[in-house]
Amino acid sequence: MDTIFSKPDSMKDVPTHYCPGCGHGVVHRLICEVVDELGIRESVIGIAPVGCAVIAYDYWDFDVTETAHGRVPAVATGIKRTHPENIVFGYQGDGDLAAIGTAEIIHAANRRENITIVFVNNSLYGMTGGQMAPTTILKQKTATTPLGRDPKREGFPLKVCELLSVLPGVFYAERVALYNPQNVLKAKKAIRKAFQNQIDGSGFSIVEVLSQCPTYLGLSPKDAVKWVEEDMLKEYPLGVFKG
């Protein structure tokens, strides 16, 4: 009898601190699987964000550094420029990338930095208690929009992939989701492509992963996944925007 699915080697054998049903665990695993498959474990350098994934370095068994809030693309730029032979990837949430780090991501993309960004969009601030993020969809109830997000007051959801895909420096931008096993496999394919682009020296690659936050959506994991599929997808269509 053959083992056809087990823990990837570059994932540490420790339980994660994430809530039950959180998408971060899946994305962590997909990155480790891609790192193992590409055989880049000794040369990869990850950059952990501020947010729920702040202690991602406890779960990945390769080099990882930590940055100030939103500054992942800036630190990735520095590491990649001083160590061009290493594979540098940034892991960011939506509060990190689309709020406090918007300037960094846009300029890193525009400079055509040869880095990979994995952007986990769960439509709210998970770590600080479920407040509205720039990526919160219209009418979504959060801790700071108890009556639902109203565009007259809070504006519109920020569509990062669409925004970045118009920049000439961006080589690859794709949005994927985690709402069923088929989509998780598609997400892995996209992450693999984003890493391969960097190995080939093609330029800036970003993969946006629509994830679920059952705790602050106030739903069971099963319903939170359904919410991503039914409501979030209307605002954030999946697909390749560039590359």
Binding site: I4, F5, P15, T16, P20, G21, N180, P181, V184
Partner: protein, 68 residues
């Protein structure tokens, strides 16, 4: 015969594997684990498991190993 192994102590009881198992081989355990949640159990009473790995692919906590 394909089968899966579930790390009961690691399981957080999100039950996403149960939701996506096409053959309904996974059920909720009747007793709690050390985390204080009801983990899932692989029962496969009717020997329907095909080893498709859907449960392991969707599991956020790497609790499942699949053998085929």
């Amino acid at each position: 015969m394909p089968k899966i192994e579930i790390d009961k102590e690691r399981c957080k009881g999100c039950q996403l594997c149960m939701t996506y198992c096409p053959k309904a081989c996974i059920e909720e355990d009747k007793s709690i684990n050390k985390k204080g949640v009801y983990p899932v159990l692989f029962l496969d009473r009717e020997k329907k498991c095909t080893g498709c790995s859907f449960c392991a692919i969707i599991c956020p906590d790497l609790c499942i190993t699949v053998y085929r």
